[in-house]
Symmetry: C3
Subunit: 429 residues, 3 copies
């Protein structure tokens, strides 16, 4: 290859690796934020995204998204690759985006959705829901893109969509047991592992450089450095405002809110990273870090149970980010230039994607309820999905407190297989 | 430097960093999969790979591998660097490969090998065993390479070798206490920390983009993007098939098997990532994710105790990957073109490397048994190697359950140094 | 952009991402090395570095460092960007360096500094202290740089400065309760989570390739590969010597010392990575890994309490690295060429930066003592800063041992909010 093409290829491969590594970030974030008894289950859901989700998108979704346009609504057939990139590199990068959408959902339905139901949610999301609405924005000839909607790396396409699908599915699945009281007040279940959740946030932050700057799909873009800087500044500002607001609101610098504040900043700058000035990126981050705390409170009031805050982070701030471009775009923003045109398009695009997410996820939820079932039985929820669906708890450190503990898993995992060292006689398979 | 050379240099440095970061992946994977009382010990073994292993390879092994060829069997002297790369960059990349081989072994002998013996295993592996057989495949003039063996990034050179060395040493070291019963049945010891092990798997998956795509050693290679995509698809397919098979076989989606299924897919595509089509990569992944579960069962039947599944993942699937190129190579595969030539060479190469691994590791094991000793005494195994060899347990969180617990380590670490806050009076050093 | 400029931009963005990911490394390292009851608090301090620290540096510090030179002492106004890089990329890279300095401090004052005081320490460090002394070395026209001081990626500028600031603040804050006995002997508090601390070390090691090789700020530099190799070799040698020395000194291969030995090797090669031969990098690493163990002992004798060893790793070995260039520089080192000139300049520079760090941090400490207060009350220290300052413990896994445990945080977090499942009735907000 010529050096310019080689550089673009290297760029797309390395940023693809960063985006795909974000799945590790989602995994640690969610395993750390849910209760211990479901930490394996959320981890396994990320593996579902990376396996079932990725393969379904590669085989089907990619064509619906980037195939030849039909009626500005859907793609079909041969994939059109931008910038002379190799198809394989472009496909790899886009897989990372599709499964990120699925991973957003995984957190919101944690601790009570059936594992088999989740596999179907992921397959339908990556194979149909995500490719369709994203074709509208990024596809060759999609109607929102033609209107001039600006969504550089997907505040709307990925985060609003994933967040509102998460909202619908969390609502349909219903809250975890004891999460809300009869008088409408809410209980908060403590995250099981804050250092692990933070590690997940740092990996996500790191991977986001690939997510946003990689979305140039062109290493020669003059915007590349500005995108990376804006991405970082918004995350920093989001974390900062969440620390400040949580101190005033809760009396303590709250770790979950700080994590989610940084992530909210990242989500909100994703649409505009290539279109706004650094000061605007900081402003967007500050708004996102504040909004995520209020949104978490609103969802509690609505009795929607989202164990990791995915709706507040991705849904609400995906919408914020989509609108923020309309306000702060350097060339056509409402606040920066006085033109209202772009803002209205962004509003339309954001609302359309949110409704599409709500509607499609409601359809999926209803379908699942009538087929494989959406929610685990109450006794499984109480026991925790780690033992029920995976035959093993997340942490097996009991040996330090009593005798060495060993677990034998078999065809019908139940509590009786958890045995102490003096009692390990059960043979395997 | 000219821009083409600079791009190649940047490529080799960044992919080297990814490959070396895989050591962190091995560390978390193994710390998560062993029992808590040996989590520090396996972590420290990875540090041995990164320190002793890397330096021995840099000083000695690198020359045996890439020096001037002698009789098609070994290299000697001045290193021949491909593609006009700087020697320093090439050396760094190759260090990552050598110590990965050692890290494969570390898991299989976990929980009972002496720390001093492990240091010697690593030094001999990186200084002699790995460079010799890898010279046959990748060295300038090595006999397997001259025959036309295809092993792009080392399914045979690294994974088959490491996996079969691991098999021999795990066999010689013998199983952990209580691992097998008198009637021949097996007990499974629960992994200590599934989220940590998963984090390790995600890091390995991330680093593997450097491992495979970086093996072009040339950013201008037209194969680069296809290699990265194939790598991902095989991992996704491996994880997917492991989830499906484990549900049918065990009744649950088993996390260890899912992790190892993804890794098996990565191992198996490593030889062929540059030579097969994407559909073939998916096929190879599916086979690998299935095979790793059966292989784990076979090893149990053979009463070989491999705490992390390194033999099943790297040994068995390294061989699978080596043979798969012979079957599915786009230009000369048996199934794709009907030619049997390449397949026979791959078979020869895979078997030769496996035998070399078994034989050399058997020699090393025998040597160690007669000198420093291979296995720790039974009472050390029961106590756990963390306290015995490193003076400290992996997790010191007792303070939450009783009084604050503090540990004083000193010249002769034993249980008595674990004290509570009210009893901390023992001075250090 | 032209391809050469694009390659430089890609290089600076990707290495910036690596450097910023090091914050995740600091977070895990420190969370793993402190006691469990303060693991959230140190994690939150890293978020302070990434948010407050980064924004203050971007808005103020960057100009003081790289603005137009005034009297060889400070910069002001418009930033001068090297190598035709985009300002945004250069700014992003430099943010990573500034906040690394703050993160070095965070560990040394862990477990007893007030959270509000720490925010001020970070703001003053990133906004004033770091930019001023670093202008002397790297600024356009800084007096130490003009003298010919060689500090390629900041053994002095970042590590000596951060380490000696840490020393002063740890001394002023005073040791943790029960850390030293009346007879002058020391107690060691066990690290809470060795696998987590190791994961942090691996991330730091990985990120250091960006830290050192990225400091070329030019992908076309012929030194690039040599820098990366030297960086790795010094880390490997540091870890190796720490393993060997700890076995001889303590009777066990000590994990904390191994981790800190590798990091000390990285710190010590940071000044000279572009100026020394690989054998010299190994030598520097061996010295660093040994020195860090002795330095840890000296600090204990001086009754300076540094929970993570930041002073020994960054302060002492930053100085070692600064001097080592004077000894081992290929072209003008004292030992390699017999010329003493460079060594004297390095000695001057290292001592000046150390004194500047001690003096400024002493000033900051005194200021804080008289205003917001530097240290938490004794009862807060006993309870742990996680509950006091953040309303939540790091690990909430009790449910496995008793009833499911859930925590409700509110305006006034205290022990009573920790409730069991049967008692969750307290509403939020």
């Amino acid at each position: 290859m010529t050096t310019p093409v080689a550089l673009n290829t290297v760029w797309v491969i390395l940023t693809s690796a960063l985006v795909l590594f974000m799945e590790g970030g989602f995994s640690l974030l969610e395993a750390g934020l849910v209760r211990t008894k479901n930490a394996v289950n959320v981890t396994m859901k990320i593996f579902v995204d990376l396996t079932f989700g990725a393969l379904v998108f590669y085989v089907i979704g990619l064509h619906l998204l980037f195939g030849r346009d039909v009626a500005h609504v859907i793609g079909i057939g041969r994939i059109l690759v931008p910038n002379g990139l190799p198809l394989a590199g472009f496909a790899l990068f886009e897989i990372g985006f599709a499964i990120a959408t699925a991973s957003i959902i995984s957190g919101a339905v944690a601790e009570r959705m059936k594992f088999s139901a989740y596999i179907l949610v992921v397959a339908i999301t990556c194979g149909l829901v995500y490719p369709v609405s994203t074709h509208w924005i990024w596809g060759n000839g999609g109607w929102l893109g033609r209107l001039g909607m600006e969504d550089f790396a997907g505040s709307a396409a990925i985060h609003t969509l994933g967040g509102f699908m998460a909202l619908a599915l969390a609502h349909i699945a219903g809250p975890r047991k004891n999460r809300f009281n009869a008088d409408g007040s809410a209980n908060v279940f403590a995250p099981s592992n804050i250092p692990l959740a933070s590690a997940g946030a740092f990996i996500l932050w790191f991977g986001w450089f690939g997510f946003n700057a990689g979305s140039t799909l062109d290493a020669h873009s003059v915007q590349l450095a500005a995108i990376a800087l804006n991405t970082f500044l918004a995350a920093a500002a989001g974390g900062m405002s969440a620390i400040v607001v949580s101190i005033f609101k809760f009396g303590v610098a709250d770790p979950s809110m700080t994590i989610n504040g940084s992530l909210a900043g990242l989500v909100a700058i994703t649409a505009g990273c290539a279109y706004v000035q650094p000061w605007a990126a900081i402003l967007i981050g500050i708004a996102a870090g504040t909004l995520v705390i209020w949104a978490t409170g609103w969802l509690d009031k609505l009795q929607v149970d989202d164990p990791v805050g995915a709706v507040a982070v991705h849904g609400v701030n995906g919408l914020l980010g989509t609108l923020a471009v309309g306000l702060l775009d350097s060339r056509q923003g409402l606040l920066t230039t006085g033109h209202v045109h772009l803002f209205l398009i962004q509003l339309l695009g954001g609302v359309v994607v949110a409704i599409w997410g709500l509607a499609s996820a409601t359809g999926i939820g209803m379908l699942l309820k009538r087929t494989v079932g959406l929610r685990v039985p109450e006794e499984h929820e109480e026991e925790g999905l780690d033992i029920v669906a995976h035959g093993i708890p997340a942490y097996n450190e009991l040996e330090r407190f009593s005798d060495a503990t060993q677990i034998v898993f078999g065809k019908h995992p139940d509590k009786s297989v958890v045995t102490t060292a003096s009692d390990v006689t059960k043979p395997v398979g």
